[in-house]
Amino acid sequence: MASKNLEAPRNADAHAAVNKTYEWGFSSDIEQDFAPKGLTEDTVRFISAKKNEPEWMLAWRLKAYRHWLTMEMPDWAKLNVEPIDYQDAYYYAEPKAKPKLGSLDEVDPEILRVYEKLGIPIEEQKVLAGVEGARKIAVDAVFDSVSVATTFRKELEEAGVIFRSISEAVREFPELVKKWLGKIVPMHDNFFATLNCAVFSDGTFVYIPEGVRCPMELSTYFRINAENTGQFERTLIIAEKGSYVSYLEGCTAPMRDENQLHAAVVELVALDDAEIKYSTVQNWYPGDENGKGGIYNFVTKRALCQGRNSKVSWTQVETGSAITWKYPSCVLAGENSIGEFYSVAVTNNHQQADTGTKMIHLGKGSRSTIVSKGISAGVSNNTYRGLVRVGATAENVRNFTQCDSLLLGDKCGAHTVPYIEVKNPSAQIEHEATTSKISDDQMFYAMQRGLDQEAAVSLIVNGFAKEVLQQLPMEFAVEAQKLLGISLEGSVG
């Protein structure tokens, strides 16, 4: 008689589990206006017109579009991308019942229900009525191509903080937008960034004036709902001297069989003594267990630490998307500026992630920390790709990089591609990488104490990712921990 030491392998269950586990996969029936399918100059003009943009904005978009036509999709990442037909997608979709600015009452109730289902508090009253002591979070909710609500606007404005959809900002604060748009990620930076310049539909604009500590967390919640629609959001955050802001970003999408494109650009600039903390929980639909469907996530995120003692901290928990191509970076131009990148990337089934960061040290005494935790399961591939560069005049630069990979099962891949380029002798650069699996000893020990297999895996994985998770604001950290467990359900058996 054989003893039943572990639960028998449960591949059949695992298949069922994965579909069950993308809880955010519902789609909603909301009347929408689309731009005509495909991408031409007319599409660009259509989007610009829809947004009542000034002429300079349209000219900027068209310049980007024309340049984009001359570019080729990059192929250096360790990703296997099916050819994308850029003419077979919609570049603009907006809910028909368009809300007036700032008036939540006029948001299509169906959209409010979507956000409610997602657990996103876009109704201020609800937040206010929440648990005593709960922190307030102002939310910008972007539904397909449009921002449908920004909350707590009044309270923020009293502090001098501007929190708007980028479309509004283009109209209301053209000088600020002009000053920084495309300055951190240049228009010609890369294929996807250039595409975004041409067709970006909405996104968030944040301006924190000098000396202001933003009184609450700011957050944008991105949702792709419409079919065959790409989402091209654009975020610009400006932190003036001595200011501070913590910004959270979350994303989900319905389960759909075809791949949907998401090509965002995020630009951050921090002036003297300013600090921006940017946290992302990316949970776009990853596709089914056979690799069908899922979001193609090609994102350019970059921060310019322009001021002395400025600091930008990126924290990301990447569990979703069929393909992730994303390198939130810091250009550390200011003296004694600080860049941080904390990342957990989970891939399961057929997911592919190629993600990491670039720390470009130009300022004297600039410091950076990179902590990357990659978790691969199923038949997925997970790559850390990072660059640490120290310029010749950047004295006394410090960087510490830790890249750890955890493999669950022997059908997945975990890859590490670090580039270190140093031109200054006073730099101190340290890079460490390890690869491990969950040991049989750890599993048995945890199970002997009473945890079932999935709880044990989830606990050990969360321990592996702890250094990163503890960087997240508390509400997000709890979500992220759950998400890690859910993303890996069915991966061990």
Partner: protein, 247 residues
């Protein structure tokens, strides 16, 4: 409480337990002693359900339920605690988080209400104090950076918190200095010496038995219990060595 009958098993095709029988009643403390390679740790792992320790024959029941049909966490929920000879490190997971999740998983499996954060901390403090362990230690990741003695002491804190019916303690005395041995011994008595609890001590030496007095002592040699006696047998073994008695 525990009834093992004619248990045999194989590891990597090699027979280790060769028809081991043992009964432990509630309220009893048993000690198993024996030379290296006799199968002492194998017995502990097999009862715990460690993968790779496949049973080839015989039965093991706990309170009448077939232990061998259960997954490791189900055995834990049934009240079986294994004190590891080499406790495992789990980086990034604090002892408190680990134990709270474990305890509440067990409680849910037994249809008991999970403990709240406050209740759990109170319990942990009490048990940590019992074993002379600083709460700060319990905030650190499971066994990471612990010395050999600290690991063993932490195992006993875990036992105190999880409150099992039956504890199988594998070489819990190894790595302990004399002061720690006294504390651990007292801890075992306080936690486990009760009419509805039982302990199986697996040990090389009799020194732990000075502090935890066994009701029965068994000699395990070549995969079988070869002799059973009272506490005095341990002293005899210490004097004479295993060679004489194992035969």
């Amino acid at each position: 409480m525990l009834k093992i009958d004619n248990l045999t098993n194989e590891i990597d095709g090699k027979a280790i337990l060769k028809g081991l029988s043992l009964s432990i009643n509630a309220g009893e403390i048993h000690a198993i002693m024996g030379p290296n390679g006799a199968g002492k740790s194998t017995l502990a792992y097999t009862l715990g359900g460690r993968p790779g320790y496949d049973v080839t024959g015989g039965t093991a029941e706990m309170d009448g339920a077939n232990l061998l049909e259960m997954a490791p966490h189900e055995r834990a929920a049934a009240g079986l605690f294994l004190g590891f000879q080499y406790p495992v490190e789990i980086p990034g997971v604090s002892n408190l988080q680990f134990l709270r999740e474990s305890l509440n998983s067990q409680r849910r499996a037994r249809a008991e209400a999970p403990l709240s954060g406050g209740e759990f901390i109170k319990l942990a403090k009490e048990k940590a104090a019992l074993l002379g362990m600083d709460m700060e230690m319990l905030k650190r990741p499971v066994n990471v950076g612990f010395s050999g003695g600290e690991k063993k002491r932490a195992e006993m804190v875990q036992m105190g918190i999880l409150d099992p019916k039956l504890a199988i303690l594998d070489e819990t005395d190894s790595g302990l200095d004399i002061d720690a041995l006294k504390i651990v011994g007292a801890g075992i008595n306080t936690i486990m010496r009760k009419p509805d609890r039982a302990v199986l001590l697996i040990t090389h030496y009799q020194r732990l038995l000075d502090y935890v007095k066994p009701d029965f002592v068994h000699v395990l040699a070549d995969g079988r219990i070869t002799r059973t006696g009272g506490a005095e047998l341990a002293l005899e073994l210490e004097r004479e060595g295993y060679r004489e008695l194992a035969a």
